[in-house]
Structure formats: C-alpha cells, structure tokens
C-alpha cells in the first residue's frame, strides 16, 4: 500500500495529484507534502482526489490541517472529486460545507481565481 503524490503548477495554483489509499499509515506523507507546499509559498492548492481509492478520518484531518495552513496566508485549498464513495465521507462528516469540491481541476482552478 502506498500513496502517490505528484505536484504540477497551473498558473498561481499548485495541483497536488493524489493516488492510492489515505489512511493512518499513509496520511503523514500527505501531511508532509502539504506542509512543504505551503513552506515553499504555494498558498493556492488544488488537491485532486480522483485516483484515491480509500480515505479515512486521518486523511480528512490532514486536509483540514492543509486548509488551515493556506488560510493563514489568505490562500485556498480546493478539492477535486467525483467518486461517490469518497464524497460520501465528506458528506457524512459535514466537510462538504468546509471544502469547495469540484468535478475537475480546471473548474477548481477557475473557481479560486
């Protein structure tokens, strides 16, 4: 089990492509990447969850932490997800009211501009 993380730039946005399973074992890797992005000055982040097969509460906590960090710099953290099984986790926990969730990276980038 591993977590794939790849970052690319789209204008002022850092797009973090996440693949694999986010759980108590792999979430620290995602946390470190988000911290790294913010420390490098990327305050507008899009996290693409389309290739995520599993997400648990630890992963949610890491995303909330990332949101808190970018907001400290008046930044944004947008999510991309169309998978029902992942969206269900956000709905149950009420985090759909916290995170802007988009159907594509293009939509997420344009929404944040």
């Amino acid at each position: 089990m591993d977590l794939d993380l790849n970052v690319r730039k789209e204008g002022d946005h850092a797009v973090l492509e996440v693949g694999g399973e986010i759980d108590v074992y792999t979430a620290p890797k995602l946390r470190e990447k988000l911290i790294e992005l913010v420390s490098e000055g990327s305050y507008h982040i899009v996290v693409n969850l389309e290739k995520v097969d599993f997400l648990d509460s630890t992963g949610l906590g890491v995303l909330v932490g990332g949101l808190k960090r970018v907001r400290n710099h008046e930044g944004t953290l947008q999510l991309v997800c169309t998978q029902e099984k992942i969206l269900k986790i956000f709905r149950i926990t009420g985090l759909t009211k916290v995170f802007p969730i988009h159907t594509s990276v293009a939509d997420a980038v344009s929404a944040a501009e």
């Binding site: 089990m1 759980d23 946390r31 648990d56 890491v62 932490g65 099984k85 269900k88 149950i92």
Partner: protein, 155 residues
Amino acid sequence: MLPPEASRGDGTTVRLSFPPEAQLLGTVRLVVGMVARKAGVDEEGIEDLKVAVSETCAVAVTDLAWAGLDAPIELDVIIEPERFGVEVRDRAPAAQDPPRRTTEENGDLDDRQFGLALVGALVDDLATEPLEDGKGHRTRFWLNRRAGDDLPPLV
C-alpha cells in the same frame, strides 16, 4: 511484517489475527472486502465496511502503540443470513485514557473521535465494551440488509 492470517471458523465466521501495525490495515481492508463481496454485500456496503474496519483497527493500533504493547489484534468477520458483522478485539489497557490524535497540523480535529463517529454513521449497532477479563476492548458492528435490497442471501 506479517500478513493477516485468515482461517475459516464454523462456516459463518472468518477470523484474522495480525500485529498492531498501521501498514497492515490496507491488507485487512482488502480481506474484509473480499469476504463481504463473496457473501453478497453490495459495493456501497463493502466500501462502508472497509472504512468502519479501518477506523476501528486504527484506534486499536494507536492504543496499543501508546501502551507499548504488540499484542495481536483479532478480527472476526461474521456472516449471517440478514446481516454482516465485524468484531475487533484488542489488548489495549482499558483503564487508561485513550490518546487523542489532535495536532496543530490537523486543525485541532480529533480524528480519533471523528473516526468513531464516522463508523457510527456508516454501520448499524456499533458497540464497544471491555473484554471479559478487563484487559482490552471488543468493538462490534453490523451491516444490516437494507430495505429494498435485491441481493442473494449472505449465506
């Protein structure tokens, strides 16, 4: 790292025993998902079970690590005609306050409590109690057949 050991019990229970290591939770989810699929649980139910199992076992892994114990976690997958159950048993001391997983990084979100609330929302009849000898916990939950499901019998 040892893989979970799966063995058939009386034909209605599949039992796993695995070391309390977080890197094994993906394998545990895989095994529970396979058993559930074979038993006729629908795909949405399988995903719900995976989350519930993973959250429950993550709490056990965290508690055991905090207590400095490496006693194996036992997990029963229980197949009944009208419902599908999971029971997780760990040997973490019951008397100690459980560690919180709240940090500045996760935005003061206690994802331990968050996780247990998530389990409660996904499955039915969630219950946690001390083991008979007082040395550990038993957490059990069920996935009841949903009204209108047109699935083959679980057994």
